[in-house]
Amino acid sequence: MCTVCGCGSGETRIEDGTKHALGYGHEATPDHSHHHHYGAGDAGASVPGMSQSRLIQLEQDILSKNNSYADTNRRYFAEHGIFALNLVSSPGSGKTSLLVETLKKLGKTHACYVIEGDQQTTNDADRIRETGVPALQINTGKGCHLDGHMIGHALERLTPKDGAYVFIENVGNLVCPAAFDLGEAHKVAILSVTEGEDKPLKYPDMFAAADVMLLNKTDLLPYVDFDVEIATANARKINPEINVLTVSAQSGDGLEDWIDWIGTARAKLFAGYAATDAAE
């Protein structure tokens, strides 16, 4: 459990404990409060003369707390010139293998870091570390997704260099991670050709939230009944703007295009920030 704010009292574990060294979060986000700050009573407060029932119009987004953590992360990335991607897919789509192959190329010329999310084990972070790239495993316990708060703490542990690339490999799940902004520049949905072409229709929220769909394991296309055109058309029914790239972590096909996409997206993001700064 985090000893500063008491967060993480559930089953979430970040490798090697949790620190608040970078000043992320607690002081920086005024709305970062946990319910246990209020003491033991119903609301930790007894208010004389306030027994009458009353109506409070709130209109507050239920995810507002996560969104404020995500905003803090996004500001941190922007201030440090860091480009962050959130990789989402079902289990077994080849996210980790694709990431390993990406890092073997991109890691030669750029500082890269990886945050791995899984319910249990450090297997994925171990695989990434074998490439020489620093990686941190978050185990969500029973949790089905990473959230902005976990990423903030992970960044404190990982301390990525300015100008780095941070890849966040989310828990393998095409449902829940769609709802949780982590502060990333883009969500990248990975779909492998051994799955169905109709997955974007079955899990529309994820494909609506993603800016790119990577169709992975294309080396298996001759052996499976998977039509790239149909999968692309299905994804665009959900999200007309989505970029689609075909890759094979196994053969290396399409990896150059994917790495080019990362470079272009990064340049576009920071050009946008520069334009905003100039306008102000």
Binding site: S33, A45, M50, S53, I56, I62, S64, C176, F180, K237
Partner: protein, 113 residues
């Protein structure tokens, strides 16, 4: 499956509001949950009962308002009610739909004492 953690978020907001707006009991919570929010209202109800047990919202009535999803077609300009994200425009059949409403996921109002 993340309905449980959403309920924990709801309870967190209730506790924050209790401290700032001076109340100690929540009698009713009214939520707005759009059909495209990725949230299943029944799972939310289940999670709400579990998460609020023993809290200031124990036994609170949970009202869930489910607005319609609407989208505007970028091809023909029609705005229409849709059921799913992959629905085509009912007027021209295009999938170039921009979601207007239906992604809401918020606490609208509270009845407190």
């Amino acid at each position: 499956m993340h309905e449980m953690s959403l309920c924990e978020n709801i309870l967190g907001i209730l506790l924050d509001e209790a401290a700032s707006q001076n109340f100690s009991k929540v009698d009713r919570v009214c939520l707005e949950v759009g059909p495209l929010s990725g949230v299943e209202p029944e799972a939310l109800r289940f999670g709400f009962d579990v998460v609020t047990r023993g809290s200031l919202a124990d036994g609170a009535q949970l009202d869930i308002f489910e607005p319609q999803a609407t989208a505007t077609c970028a091809a023909c300009g029609t705005t229409a009610v849709i059921q799913d994200r992959f629905d085509p425009c009912p007027s021209c059949g295009s999938h170039l739909l921009q979601i207007k409403t239906g992604e809401e996921l918020r606490i609208k109002e509270l009845e407190v004492s």
